[in-house]
Amino acid sequence: MARREDLLPRLLGPSGTELGCDECFAELDRYVELEIAGADADAAVPGLRAHLDGCPACREEHESLLALVRGEQPS
């Protein structure tokens, strides 16, 4: 059972301009490396963050790629 505060964003989606799933996948590796480097990934890839907010599947894959690549960084 969904909670209301979770349900409304899922039904209405992000308000800003967003990429589609295919464009998100194409840009995901660059976006993640920019995030890890501390660069402004959202400025470099406009619309990707909004897509991650609206698409649970792409969001999960972003989280996994970020965790995997971050885990390889020298501590």
Binding site: M1, A2, R3, R4, E5, L7, L8, P9, R10, L11, L12, G13, P14, S15, G16, T17, E18, L19, G20, C21, D22, E23, F25, A26, E27, L28, D29, R30, V32, E33, V45, P46, G47, L48, G54, C55, P56, A57, E60, E61, S64, L65, A67, L68, V69
Partner: protein
């Protein structure tokens, strides 16, 4: 709200030495290529196992062998995808980061589909009346109830039947988009476009009903 059809062109950086080596060896002939393909498969398998490991708690009925089979299938499929798309790699990231995403995608899709194997896909808003309140104040509760009523009306009146089925399945009933794509013979990209269009119509319906942008963004 718009879905951008194409992202801005990425600035293509010179390839780092390791990425150059991957491309050179994967495009070579004979033993050098075979060795590079084997290294690439091992790398993809590691990524697929990483994804399986992150999700194994959601699949308690699968045994270790089943999970390893899924990881291996995901690595095999990702290898085919990566090798077929080598010319698409432009050096916007390291080669390994670029390759990892194919393995993570393949593993995630297979695990989502396995989790929904044999389950009926709910396409009707059957869970709508069961939406739980989150304990807001009374005033907010009333506002949310009115908003939810307007959303329900918008879903019924403003959307096409296909948009309604997709929105209800994905956003209301929590069906993973890959699972729905498989059942409907569609693709993730096409279904997300439908979801996006449905959300835009729904927002328009709510605006027409007097719900301002501020209210919607607060939710």
């Amino acid at each position: 709200m718009d879905v951008v059809p194409q992202p801005p062109a990425a600035s293509v950086a010179p390839l780092d030495p390791e990425s150059r080596r991957w491309l050179r060896e994967l495009r070579a002939d004979g033993g050098a290529r075979d060795a590079a393909v084997a290294r690439l498969h091992a790398l993809l398998l590691r990524a697929a196992r990483f994804e399986v490991g992150r999700r194994r708690a959601t699949l308690p009925y699968l045994r270790g062998n089943d999970l390893d089979d899924i990881a291996l299938q995901a690595a095999d499929d990702a290898l085919v995808s990566v090798l077929a798309r080598l010319d698409d790699f432009r050096g916007a990231s390291r080669f390994t980061t670029w390759a990892y995403k194919f393995a993570l995608l393949e593993a995630a899709v297979k695990l989502r589909r396995r989790a929904w194997q044999g389950r009926e896909i709910p396409l009707e808003p059957e869970s709508w009346p069961l939406v739980a309140g989150g304990g807001p104040t009374l005033g907010k509760e009333v506002a949310q109830t009115e908003l939810l009523a307007a959303i329900r009306e918008g879903i019924a009146a403003a959307l096409t039947p296909h948009q309604r089925r997709v929105l209800v399945a994905l956003a209301l009933n929590g069906v993973p988009i890959d699972v729905l794509a498989e059942r409907l013979g569609s693709t993730r990209g096409a279904l997300y476009k439908t979801l996006h269009d449905a959300r835009r119509k729904l927002r328009g319906h709510l605006a027409d009903a007097g719900f301002g942008t501020t209210i919607l963004e607060e939710e």
